[in-house]
Every structure is written in structure tokens, then in C-alpha cells.
Amino acid sequence: MKKISLILLTLMLFTGCGQVAEEVTGQESHPHEEGVSADHGHADEAAGDSHEDMSLAEHAQNLAQFAIGPNGEYETNDFDALEFLTTWNFNNLAEDERAKFYKETALDDGTLLREYWFNVEEVTIEVAPGVYYPAWSYNGQVPGPTIRATEGDTIKIHFKNNASKPHTVHFHGYHSSSQDGTGGEEEDKIMLPGESRDYEFKAEPFGSHVYHCHSYPVSQHIAKGLYGAYIVDPKVDTRPKADKEFVMVMNGFDTDFDGANDFYAVNTRAFAYNYQPIHVKKGELVRIQLSNMLEFDPINSFHLHANFFDEYPTGTKLDPENFTDTITMGQGERSILDIRFREEGMYMFHSHVSELAELGWTGMFMVE
């Protein structure tokens, strides 16, 4: 009995060793990996689309195109991304509502006194479908309300801080140091919660500008949403007349507060103009007032498919200085882009920093 078991054992040993070695040395060796447990794969319920029944080859080719992108739809409609494009001086509001925030008064020299009522409010906004961000805003919206004036007008901002931290508003444009919004002077203190003051300056030079909070730390106050567009039209405008004008503020949001943006967008909502393409007509002059208020990332960019545009850097000259389809922008930079679409169709526009595009800063023009 003992001898038999001995023989059996030895036999098993030799055959077995060979078998196992043969079975498994065929496998590739992989470098060390941490912390992943792999289960066996099931032919699970698919990610639910019509391409489930495609062959694997087709799958592999078309796959990423259909699988990429945001999940689901936006849940709230307190901010209309399409409406923001063409809204300035609160022109989207009914007259009585508008009067609470904007007032025009003609002055003797032919210019206008434009008064704005700006309140800093803390508000939760939806920055990607189903993802919410606790933002600081001017008048409950990010970007803040677009201000538009003609060169030479007087602008007066009635500023009130309804939030829980100190805030200001600081304009890019000519102004006196007491209107700077940086707390550097006695007359220019940073407004504590509940405080209010007026900022007053002339709308000059003409161009595409921005405003933002300059309370400290500035990076935080900008990142949290306190910025907006400030457009000054030239008194004598020799530029071709635009058929459509769109305000686009490039921005991004750090939803997990780790010092890097998680989602990017133009006008706050990631992929907004994929969900709702911008409609324009073939041949008409589309003018974009573009600004970059992206925090944390040093470079942003704007790229348009299949078409080229005239660029007026900062919009401060009446002649375009560039004819291209891709521009680069640092933080705080802005430009005016004049586009004429040559053909009908759908054309993507997005950051050519591809990472930012695939995290939300992408959209579509629908040309009819």
C-alpha cells in the first residue's frame, strides 16, 4: 500500500509539474499592480445603446464616438445657456423686472448714464448634467450679467454684498484708482457682507472686456464664479455690421476642490451647446465676444471647424489682426471673432486644448 502510493505520488509529480508549467508559461507577464481585484467577466447588460448588436469590429471603430460624452441631461433650467449668448444689460427680462437691475438716462453731451444693480449672492449651480457646484455669483448667475455700453457712456454700478464673505467688483477698462475694486485705497475698500457702494467710470476704451471680483484670494473668488463680460462698442464703428452677436465666457469648475478643474465649459454649462446647438444662417456675419475666465489652467483656446474667422484681439482696434481657425488665450484675455459660415451643416467649436474639450468645453453651430 505504501509502495503504491509512493509510486503514484512520484508519477503525479513529474507529469504534473510539466503540465502546470506548460499551461501557465504561455501567459504574458505583467508588471506589478496594486489594489485591483479582477472578477471574471460576465456578458453583462450593455451600456444600453443601439450599437449593442453590432459586431465587435464595428464596435471597436464606432464605439468611442458614441460612448464618449456626458451622462444624462441637465436637471435644472435656472440658467439658459442659449439665452445668455444674446443677453446684455438685462435685455432678457420683462420691463418691470429689468428696471430693478438696469436704468439708462440720457446725458446732456449725448452719452448715456447706464446704472446697474449688482448683488453678490451665494447660489448652487449645475455645471455638468447632475453635478452641482456651490458658486459665488453676481445676481445669482455665472457668468455674471453682461454689461454693454457705447464708448464714452458713464457706467455706475450699485454694488451690494449679500454674501457671507467680502467682495468687490473690478473692471478691465479705464477707471480711477478709487474705482478699482482692490481695496488699495481708503475710498476703495473691500465690501464686507451687507455693505454696499457705487462704482463709477467712463466706458472706455472700446473693446471686449471683463469684470470680476478682486477680493482675496483672487484665484478663489474668480474660480467660484464672480466674473462677467463687459463690452464697449466704438463710437464710430467702421467694422462690418454683425448679423448675430454672441457673448462667450470660457470657464471651468473645480467641483471637488482639489485645485484643478473637473469640468470646463463656455458659459458655465459643460457640453451645453452640444445639447442645444447654436443656430445661425449661412453667409451671415456672426460676431463672438469671447473672453477667458478660466482659473487654474494657464492656457485655454478656441477652435472652429471647417471655417476661419477674423480676430480682433481684445476688440480694441477696428481692423482685425488675425485670420485663423484657432486662437490661444491666457487668463483674462479676450477677443472679438467675426465668422461667416460658408456652407450649411453642423460645425463643432471647442477648445483645442483637447483635454478641456473632452471635459465639457465643446459645442456645435448649426448652420442653416
Binding site: P31, E45, A64, A67
Partner: protein, 403 residues
């Protein structure tokens, strides 16, 4: 009325009442808090504490499945998925919202590249991000006959056979005389203690892979003590056997206990090998198999050492040895099957901890016996040498386990 009075005088009834009354009060209090709130004591504007634990990542051709568990105190709604800094569409089952301790599967079609790393980021409705990194992408093993065969063979040749081979030294060990028995016992203890710490270290490493709500440390402690108490009960109940039937029966029992403890340790080893192979961490080349064989050979020696005192007949011994060999070695098969196909760090910690407990319990048992037997005390040169030899043999054969 009289009935109630009688009831109250019944001692048993009063006992039950004494237990139930506080329970009723507590229940009422809890109900009250749930309904009415805690009167502002614990209220506060705390941001939600959200935690997601990634349990597994499964790769199929052009498709990835993430297994996640809500490891935190609050519900979490997953709104977006970002893969390598690209927002990606996904389907989450059963739903996008996970209550505490609920699990879900996230399916995405993704053109992953073999060998490339991947970074997954889940973003909740509150903007909180949960990240998971995969260092190397590769196809997950599928449960088919080829893989089962592989793991059964693996378990056989890494577990069962080496142990049986170690048992082959039995005739030699049996013929040793005198102090050699003590040397053998201390050798055994040395081997066992090394194994025990080895398994303990592995179990501790796994604590980080267990969702914190499952309390890896708790599992370890429970497993460890469970083994000690269970084996303690077995030893206690069989104590009288030793007294009545003689030393040699006791040594047979020891051998079985050692085999059992080693079996559990090998279960853990199997789990480790199986899962490592399944996630591509280990190449199961010939070197690894041979290394493990040498390593586990010594386990066979540990099992037979106490048996040298036995008075059983040849065929009976052989039968016992075979059983012990299978008891010690077969769990490697089971372990590697589970580890390869249904790996759970919770099970792994539990089994490893039980193994550790079993091993230490048996070691202590043997030491206790040696102490009682030796008038000179436990730390004779022979014993110490034996113990160190056991440690060194285990350490040395460990070098052979490459991969």
C-alpha cells in the same frame, strides 16, 4: 385582575419584563428622534460625507465594468464618469443613487488598450470625485474549463503534493532517537511561527483593500480569536483522550491540528496566488511552482514531526498521512479557485486570520507540552537550535518562490 397579579409574582415574568422595559423605552426614543429630530443638538450645516469604494474592475473586449460600494454614511448619486480626463457615458445598475452599503455595477464601452494604465473618476451630484487607478489594463479571466483546470492543477502541485512529499520523510524521522524528538518539535514550532507571521503580514496588508465599513482590523481579530477559541475547545475536549489512551494518540491529534492550521494558511496562500494570477500580478512559471513546492515541503515535515511517537501500524499511519496531506494541501486548490474567480478581500482576511490563529494555537500547544516534558525547561540548546533551524528553512525556501 387576579391573573395579572399572579403574573407579576412569577419571577420568570419579572425577569422578562426587566429586560424588555429598557428596550421599549429605547425604541420609543429612537422613534421620537426619527420623527421629530434631535432638537437642534446634532444639527449643523455639515457638508455631506460621501465615500465610494471600488471593489473590482472587470475588463472585457471594448467594455469595462466597475463594481462599487457605498462605504459612507450618506446616500451618493453618481452623475458623471471621467476616464483618463475624458467625460464618458455609462450605465449604472441598479441605479445612479447608492444608499449606504449598497452596491452597483457601472458599465461603459471603452476602447481600452492592453497594458495601458487607466484612471477612473466618478463625480457625484455634489461634485465630489472618487478616483480609481488601474496600473495595467488586461482582459479579466473568464470562468471556463481551461482556467479551472489550471487552478486545480496549481493547487495540487503547490499544495497537496509538496505536503505529501514532506510526509515521505516520516520513516527517517521515526528512526531518530532521544533528543531528536525535541529537536523536531522545536523545528516544527519554528516553521509554524514563521508561517503564522507570514500569514499575519499578508492579512494586515489586505486591511487597506477592505471597505472601511467592513472593518478589516475587526475581521482580522475575529478570525484570529475564532481559530484560537475553536481549537482551544477541540484541545480541551480531547484532553482526556491523551490521558486515557496515551501519548501517541495525542501526537496524532496534534498532527491533525497542525495539518488543519496549515490547511487554512494554504487557503490564504491559494487566495493570494489565484487573485495575483487573475490580475496579472504573478507569472506562474515553473520557477514559482518549484519554489512553492520546496517551501511547502517543509510543511509536510511539520505535520509528521509529532507523529514519530505514534504506535500505530504501518497501513493505518499511511492512511492518516494521506488524509493529513490532503487536509493541509487541498485548501490551496479551493483558495486559488476562489482567489482567481471570486476574490473578496473580506474572505481573504478572514481565512488568513483564522489560519494565523490556528497556527499560533498549535504552536503554543506544542511549546506547552515541551515545557512540561523537559525538566531542564524550554530553552535548551537543542530546542533553540531546532526553532532557529525551522525559521531559517522557511526563510531560505522563500527565496525559491520567485514571481
Amino acid at each position: 385582575m387576579i391573573m395579572f397579579k399572579n403574573m407579576f409574582q412569577n419571577a420568570k415574568f419579572r425577569l422578562i419584563l426587566a429586560f424588555l422595559l429598557p428596550v421599549v423605552f429605547i425604541a420609543a426614543l429612537v422613534w421620537f428622534f426619527v420623527q421629530k429630530g434631535t432638537f437642534g443638538v446634532l444639527e449643523g450645516n455639515f457638508p455631506p460625507v460621501e465615500k465610494i469604494f471600488f471593489e473590482r474592475v472587470v475588463f472585457e473586449p471594448e467594455k469595462i465594468t466597475l463594481g462599487v460600494l457605498n462605504d459612507g454614511p450618506e446616500s451618493v448619486k453618481i452623475s458623471q464618469l471621467i476616464v483618463n480626463d475624458v467625460v464618458w457615458r455609462f450605465k449604472m445598475e441598479p441605479s445612479n443613487e447608492l444608499k449606504p452599503l449598497e452596491r452597483a455595477k457601472i458599465n461603459l464601452y471603452y476602447p481600452w488598450v492592453e497594458g495601458d494604465p487607466l484612471a477612473f473618476k466618478l463625480v457625484s451630484a455634489n461634485g465630489v470625485a472618487f478616483e480609481k487607478e488601474v496600473d495595467v489594463s488586461f482582459l479579466s479571466p473568464v470562468l471556463d474549463s481551461k482556467y479551472i483546470k489550471t487552478f486545480v492543477l496549481l493547487g495540487l502541485y503547490v499544495g497537496v503534493i509538496p505536503v505529501l512529499l514532506g510526509l515521505l520523510w516520516f520513516p527517517f524521522l521515526r528512526r531518530l532517537r532521544g533528543g531528536a524528538y525535541m529537536f523536531l518539535l522545536s523545528l516544527t514550532v519554528g516553521l509554524l511561527v514563521f508561517l503564522g507571521f507570514d500569514a499575519l503580514a499578508e492579512a494586515i496588508e489586505l486591511i487597506g483593500e477592505v471597505p472601511s465599513t467592513f472593518n478589516g482590523v475587526g475581521l482580522l481579530v475575529i478570525g484570529f480569536l475564532l481559530a484560537i477559541f475553536a481549537l482551544g475547545v477541540v484541545t480541551y475536549k480531547t484532553q482526556h483522550i491523551g490521558e486515557s489512551k496515551g501519548e501517541h494518540v495525542k501526537s496524532l491529534l496534534w498532527a491533525y491540528l497542525i495539518a488543519f492550521g496549515i490547511g487554512l494558511h494554504n487557503l490564504g496562500e491559494g487566495l493570494a496566488i489565484g487573485s495575483a494570477y487573475a490580475i496579472g500580478e504573478a507569472t506562474l512559471g515553473a520557477t514559482l511552482v518549484i519554489g512553492f513546492m520546496a517551501h511547502n515541503l517543509t510543511e509536510g515535515i511539520a505535520i509528521v514531526s509529532p507523529l514519530t511517537k505514534t504506535l500505530l501500524g504501518r497501513s493505518k499511519i499511511v492512511m492518516h498521512l494521506l488524509v493529513m496531506g490532503i487536509l493541509a494541501g487541498a485548501p490551496t486548490i479551493i483558495g486559488s479557485l476562489i482567489g482567481g474567480f471570486a476574490y473578496s478581500p473580506i474572505l481573504a482576511i478572514l481565512f488568513l486570520a483564522i489560519g494565523v490563529g490556528a497556527i499560533f494555537d498549535v504552536s503554543f500547544d506544542i511549546l506547552h507540552y515541551m515545557y512540561r516534558k523537559n525538566e531542564k525547561g524550554l530553552f535548551t540548546p537543542v530546542n533553540v537550535l531546532g526553532f532557529l533551524a525551522g525559521l531559517m528553512i522557511m526563510y531560505g525556501t522563500g527565496f525559491l518562490v520567485l514571481g
